[in-house]
Symmetry: C2
Subunit: 356 residues, 2 copies
DNA sequence: CCCTCTGTTGAGCACGTTCTCACTCGCGCA
DNA sequence: TGCGCGAGTGAGAACGTGCTCAACAGAGGG
């Protein structure tokens, strides 16, 4: 009877102990050869490398993390990856992390505080080295403050909780909204609408999002500065594309129809376009539209859409850099990075100062 | 001089040992109380829970993984999260994983074999319990085969490497392309174009992607079956929106202009629309367009776009389920899940059998 | 009184790695 | 010969957890 030949590549993976035995050296020597530290003879190094190759050895990062105290992993707590804006932020974040040898665990919160709390707990237990967060609420943020107190490296992106002592990476939402509306006023518009993000707090929390609030505040200040009043019907609270569609359809059918509508984000702008088409209105002749965030589709609608473009990818890379810097220097002063937006004039806004 | 009071919540986090000491019990008892196994007296349980609360104790998942051998983490090796299709797949995948207590590490490959190899290596070292992969190439896949041989749980999504022994979750790409083109032929079109995905192999690999190939094969078979010849100018190889735009603009300006153009994916369809607009052609009067994948913008272009909709989110959840099942039952027979697509008729295809 | 059974507890091993410490050996120099 | 020195090596600690094993106390039955 032939002896059973042991499989050269065990299913459960081989440890450095197996490599050492195969190479005929101790664990310490094998570790030195593979880890590239200490001093190892040329002969031993060759044998260890051959053994590792033969056994298909793969370092166990989990065990390494036990010793080093770092997981080389970052966490990302965002609303929804399938939202194109966050998708680009995440892409930038993973690229920035990866170039420094870090990987990213992704958690979606759907703007829900409960999910954010649970996600934060899981990421903490997984001992990620840092966390990117787009906070779900300005109000309910004790869990984030607690994480910061425990020394967790945190960076807030897109929006931020006032008073939370972390690095922040945002665009100038207030100024962008203010300037865009000012431009639209300058070409003769006086009736400008801007649906407001509706707070939805099934858990009793307000869910105020600073970025949306600031954009809207910029809009209101530009209106007020020009001496224009904003009827409350122009700022209906809504959540998501279909609610915006309904709300905007209502105001477009009213006697006091706005001449321009401002979409605070991608989904709002889509809802506004839906409503305009539903009311059979012509853009920009009968109603002008402008939005926040320049997604891929803004050039395939007719007329192409004028937008405030924000550098979503760069927000992600910048956040990664800030976070890695924080991990490296925990006590360095917190920084707020404000990235510039770009006004892209296309053809969706009518110039009312020109006749015809 | 006042004695220095030790911080109640140490920055580097407390272990179960600290909790046990605080509660005045042994590590084993504290572990039992917190882990909910074995038997612990009511008194001890209360003291341990109070101590854990006071110290802000958080289980160390890394150490737990050392013992249990599982990380409760899955990996995702996809081309690009900022691609809306993959963003939705990933959302479905993370949702499916999360509902079973798993988290997801995200790695982008940009359809590059080198990145895929490196990403697979990292995920393996991190000892993820399973990996979702949208293979970058049919040809260069030894690394994937090797992972399967080593017992790594793998599921292929959107596309697959023939002969690779894993679960597969796809849509019926061939049939979808075939049926769509057959419909278009049925309403009188004979000159139908479909730009082909260009293989870009800077590393010498072919980078053939089965999903794109199958859609295109369906198109060619439908054409052949109707006795229609496809000039090579109708299937220019291109990569990405701008290359497609250029290629399609060329054929639209030629004498042998197609009456309909089929976009094999989201970015192709966008490029086709770019070209049509650039040539000042009217859709569908002068040229018809239909595409694969129903993204959010397909209803805001005029006319709204007729598409083959695919359940991207469901692909993700289905892949998560398949992967979790595989982890639980490593030797169960491999399955291929084919999810249905939906033909959505909107208004971007002209019926040539009707006059006017 | 002794024995058994049950509830509760603590000691200690294992996971796989990184890294420190101590040891051996060969060589050069006083 | 004795000593120091450096290269190379192995033993072993540490990280924090899950879990097994043995011990111990108290209750209850014979």
């Amino acid at each position: 009877m032939l002896p059973v030949v042991q499989a050269s590549v065990p299913a459960q993976g081989s440890s450095i102990f197996d490599v050492a035995r195969e190479a005929g050296v101790s664990r310490a020597t094998a570790a030195r050869a593979l880890g590239g530290y200490g001093s190892v003879s040329e002969e031993a190094r060759r044998r260890v490398e051959a053994a590792a190759e033969k056994l298909g050895y793969s370092v166990n990062s989990v065990a390494r993390s036990m010793v080093t105290g770092q997981t080389m992993t970052l966490g990302a707590l965002i609303a929804d990856v399938s939202n194109p804006f966050f998708a680009r932020v995440i892409r930038g974040f993973t690229d920035g992390a990866r170039s420094a040898g870090y990987d990213v665990v992704l958690v979606n919160t759907d703007e829900t505080v409960d999910s954010e709390i649970h996600g934060l707990k899981v990421l903490t237990e997984k001992r990620v080295d840092g966390i990117l967060v787009a906070p779900a609420s300005e109000e309910a943020s004790e869990h984030l403050a607690s994480a910061v107190d425990h020394g967790q490296a945190l960076v807030q992106v897109d929006r931020f909780v006032p008073g939370l002592d972390t690095d922040v990476v945002v665009v100038n939402n207030y100024e962008s909204g203010y300037q865009a509306v000012k431009r639209v006023i300058a070409i003769g518009h006086t009736r400008i609408a801007a649906p407001l993000q509706r707070t939805r707090g099934h858990d009793g929390h307000a869910n105020l999002i600073s970025s949306m609030l600031e954009r809207h505040q910029g809009y209101r200040d530009a209106m007020a500065e020009a001496g224009l009043t904003v009827p409350s019907a122009y700022t209906p609270p809504a959540h998501g594309r279909s609610e915006v569609r309904t709300a905007v359809a209502g105001m477009l059918n009213s006697a006091d129809r706005p001449t321009a509508v401002f979409g605070l984000d991608d989904s709002f702008t889509l809802g506004i376009i839906d409503a305009v088409y539903g009311c059979d209105l012509v853009v920009p002749d009968q109603v002008s539209i402008f939005g926040f965030d320049d997604t891929e589709w803004t050039t395939v609608v007719r007329p192409p859409l004028s937008v405030i473009a924000q550098p979503a990818y760069d927000l992600g890379t910048c956040a990664a850099q800030a976070l890695l810097h924080r991990i490296h220097a925990p006590d360095a002063p917190r920084q707020t990075h404000v990235l510039p937006t770009t006004w892209i004039e296309r053809g969706s806004i009518r110039d009312l100062t020109r006749t015809g």
